[in-house]
Symmetry: C2
Subunit: 242 residues, 2 copies
């Protein structure tokens, strides 16, 4: 029995849904209300002490951190495999996940203004202080404070965009000129980890960069990703208005 | 053939040395001169594009990120095993590594003033700007800028200390009341990942917290860690004056 606590537009949730769909695993989905800060409630913190989504409950035991959940699913449900068949490529896969995880701040600069900012900017100072106190991570406290009181500037968005182009798309391109997928010849959790980022870059952040002229390898990879049946089933829809 | 690019006092390097020694693996060590910023040289960036230590070369192929290197070593040299024998505990192990990795900023606040700060504070503005330009990670750029021009304050050190006590020692304590080691009944990469942190907390940051009164489970764990032959061989010596 698999239960997924997730949100439709959360990047980390999208990774786990994609992994579940690639494996053909049925699961019960619980949508977490981020605007109501359900992920910082005492009940949710018992599932994930870090207070972020997603979390997966498998036979009553809680798992969290999307990269860790995907590797767990691949170990417990090995077919079809979503890891490379050799140790060196598995190391590359894990470094891709770590690398992309470290870029999430650049996505938040774009993502949160579509949703969480609209809620947070209406809080009184007292409400804001009360909310911030419940957030375990310093980085997430800062992100909530920013959208509530000092929304990210156009300059900051430009810096985040540049970072995503150089540290994600350029690095992907250089890998994809040598191999079919990010961690070798097989589609793996490394590719899954990157999907929610490329989706947002292609949709809003820098669509002109995801094309045959600027990043031909990425463009081809992205076409293959979107053609996979699991991509449609994982419901990685448009960010705005969905 | 294993070649390790490392530094004696680097936390991530200490993890990999510990892992190599637990496995009984011989390796050739290359000490990277951090003060001279050798890890940001074009030659080193070819080995690790992230410009941090350690990096391991195995049969001519480069690996980086300490957590990834340790898992690789455990897969390629499986005896003695340094991962749990079941998928759920392996997920816990990976989450420990992720969790501790995210706390490194709190260690830097204490560690860098013993060494890198003494070098960086002497740079001219031109030298500082030139150095910063070569550093791939924004977080590390910020850390160098701080030690060069605006050393961390006593207040910041107090906040970092509190964070390490709550997010590391308290969390370890709560785990170690249930299991012998951090990821279950076996000593694993989760324990290895934490060692360099507890070493620094015990030595300088909050020694009074690593005792039977405040964190009895951690104190017992720490005694067992220090008694392991691999701990001595990995040369995790005192930070100051070593």
């Amino acid at each position: 029995m698999l239960v997924l606590h997730h949100a439709w537009r959360s990047s980390a949730s999208r990774r786990v849904r994609l992994c579940l769909e690639e494996k053909g695993l049925a699961y019960e989905g619980h949508v977490v209300n981020l605007e109501a800060m359900e992920h910082h409630s005492p009940e949710y913190l018992k599932i994930n002490p870090n207070g972020v989504i997603p979390a997966l409950i498998h036979d009553g035991r809680a798992l969290y951190e999307s990269g860790t959940i995907c590797e767990y699913l691949d170990e417990v449900f090995p077919n079809p495999p979503l890891s490379p068949d050799n140790a060196y490529d598995r190391a590359s896969m894990r470094n891709w996940v770590r690398h992309v995880d470290a870029l999430i701040g650049n996505l938040i600069v774009f993502n949160w203004r579509h949703s969480l900012q609209k809620v947070a900017e209406k809080w009184t100072d007292e409400e804001l202080a009360a909310h911030l106190k419940k957030i375990p991570s310093k980085e997430r406290q800062e992100a909530w404070l920013r959208v509530a009181r000092r929304p990210y500037t156009e300059e900051e968005r430009a810096a985040a965009r540049a970072k995503l182009v150089v540290d994600l798309l350029d690095r992907m391109e250089s890998t994809l000129t040598a191999t079919a997928w990010l961690a070798g010849s097989r589609y793996t959790i490394a590719d899954i980890a990157v999907v929610p980022f490329v989706k947002r870059i292609d949709e809003e952040i820098a669509p002109e960069e995801v094309d045959a002229k600027h990043h031909p390898g990425v463009a081809e990879w992205w076409a293959k990703i979107q053609a996979r049946p699991a991509f449609a089933r994982a419901n990685i829809g448009p960010f705005v208005g969905s």
